[in-house]
């Protein structure tokens, strides 16, 4: 997985075939693993690269704009309007621009990108996204010498997003990356999944996805991308600075104050499936570890 790309659009039946094939493979692997106890040490006992089902990806979401329960986003986002949609790129750049969703889909070719998603809560999925590198989009503008960080702002529309009527987070949802993180080829602008248009509950019409960071870093329904000089304050840092840091890289050695991050549960596995070990940078260390050389990742959690 990681950067492996299949055809641009794969029909769902092919996905399913691939799934059943992988399942058969996985079954063999797990039978083998059964003989080596303890199971938990067998990080790859179950096939952790098997795609999560479309149903689980689209009905088990954290998207507080539509409610705080996992099923809420699916239930409450179906009538959410994503057209017309415009994204503004502004801040410390030479010339701010506004792009419509149509312009974006015409200019940038979305490809299939299969990435692992690790939620800070301790569960994970494998999702076949459609998207392109954020660096392609950001190369449309010229940052000034002051620009050090990029801030993402999600849509604010309490009429349509009933979760925003409650002060659970400081709406609109904000996230941020250092510029080198934002320009990394793995940082993806997502426009779809499973070869289809991005469902509302997954952040339609456009979201970002950063595979080596906890899921909440990947802001949904983005309307504004702003280049800034100072490290932006994300919504979750604002809500609980002790628990959620700016970097939020997946790191099995740095625990959340309320739970361990050493292991995770794979979504869609049965009740008897063991936890698997969480990988440093969610398994993308080869690609991204050099972004953080010399940094104390315990301090900069």
């Amino acid at each position: 997985m990681k950067t492996i790309k299949y055809s641009k659009i794969t029909p769902e039946s092919v996905y399913k075939n691939r799934r059943s094939f992988l399942k058969r493979l996985g079954f063999g692997a797990s039978t083998l693993a059964f003989s080596s106890i303890p199971l938990i040490n067998n990080g790859f006992a179950k096939d952790r690269n098997e795609l999560t089902s479309y149903k689980d990806i689209t009905t088990y979401n954290n998207y507080y704009e539509f409610g705080t329960s996992k099923g809420d986003p699916y239930k409450n986002s179906q009538t959410f309007k994503t057209t017309p949609w415009e994204i503004s790129i502004e801040g410390e750049i030479d010339k701010p621009i506004k792009l419509s969703m149509e312009e974006i889909s015409e200019t940038f070719l979305s490809e299939e990108r299969i990435y692992r998603l690790r939620c800070v809560e301790g569960w994970s999925m494998v999702i076949p996204w459609l998207g392109f590198s954020l660096s392609d989009l950001l190369s449309k503008v010229k940052p000034t010498s002051k620009a050090k960080f990029v801030e993402f702002e999600s849509v604010y529309d309490p009429e349509q997003m009933k979760g925003q009527k409650y002060p659970v987070l400081n709406w609109p949802y904000k996230e941020g990356l250092r510029i080198d993180e934002a320009m990394h080829p793995l940082t993806t602008v997502v426009t779809g999944l499973y070869g289809k248009k991005l469902p509302n509950q997954n952040g339609a019409p456009l979201r970002i996805f950063i595979p080596w960071k906890y899921g909440f870093k990947s802001a949904k329904a983005i309307v504004k991308i702003k280049f800034v000089e100072k490290m932006p304050m994300s919504s979750w840092m604002w809500a609980s600075p002790r628990e959620y840091g700016f970097y939020s890289n997946v790191n099995p050695n740095v625990n959340h104050p309320r739970w361990s991050q050493a292991t995770e549960r794979i979504i869609g596995e049965g009740i008897w499936a063991p936890r698997v070990k969480t990988l440093m940078f969610n398994g993308y260390g080869e690609e991204v570890a050099n972004l953080y050389t010399g940094m104390d990742l315990k301090k900069n959690f």
């Binding site: 938990i40 996992k70 569960w123 609980s240 309320r258 979504i267 049965g270 009740i271």
Partner: protein
């Protein structure tokens, strides 16, 4: 009529267990089944703690002593659901892998206090029989006041593990505090008249 009360309450108390057993068996627990079982058994433990603590205030309020007949059984259901909760965490979630569990018990205060609450329940469950009641005499009552500590620990366990205290953890906390305040009042009166 009265003789049906206890069996009915026993049956009603098993319904949450039957419910989660059915859901587990038929794979109806959603994408994170283990978490679902953990939360479900944990919440029902708290509910049974509240029910157990309600019996003597109910006796006072209604002037009917029948409530006390259910108290021990409800208390044993606290132990039952708390044990299911613990087993789900230790067995199903962590596969009896002691290293991470011990890490949790020491480092995470909500795990520590939750485990402490369960430990305190053990002597209560062991000494719940009539025989033990007679054997321990006056000490039995003193020993079983441990349920007050269990209730507070259980409520703190829920508050500390939650993202925010709003609203369910707070509601359980308030209910438990109110139920415990009843005890203080009762005690004061005893002192006055005694």
């Amino acid at each position: 009529m009265k003789k049906y009360f206890k069996p009915s309450i026993f049956f009603l108390s098993t319904i949450p267990f039957i419910f989660i057993f059915y859901k587990t068996g038929f794979n109806k627990l959603g994408p994170e089944p283990v978490k679902e079982i953990t939360h479900f058994t944990g919440e029902w433990t708290l509910i049974f703690i509240c029910l157990t603590l309600s019996m003597s205030p109910l006796k006072k309020i209604t002037n009917m002593s029948i409530w006390i007949n259910f108290r021990r059984m409800l208390g044993l259901f606290v132990f039952f659901y708390a044990t299911l909760h613990l087993l789900t965490y230790v067995g199903l979630d962590y596969r009896f892998n002691w290293q991470p569990i011990m890490d949790d018990v020491v480092k995470k205060r909500y795990v520590f206090i939750g485990f402490a609450a369960w430990l305190l329940l053990v002597p209560l469950a062991i000494t719940s029989s009539k025989k033990m009641m007679k054997l321990l005499k006056n000490n039995w009552k003193k020993l079983h006041r441990l349920i007050y500590a269990v209730a507070i620990f259980g409520s703190l366990h829920y508050i500390w593990l939650s993202k925010t205290i709003f609203f369910k953890p707070l509601i359980y906390f308030i209910i438990i505090v109110v139920l415990l305040l009843f005890r203080i009042k009762i005690k004061k009166k005893e002192v006055k008249y005694g």
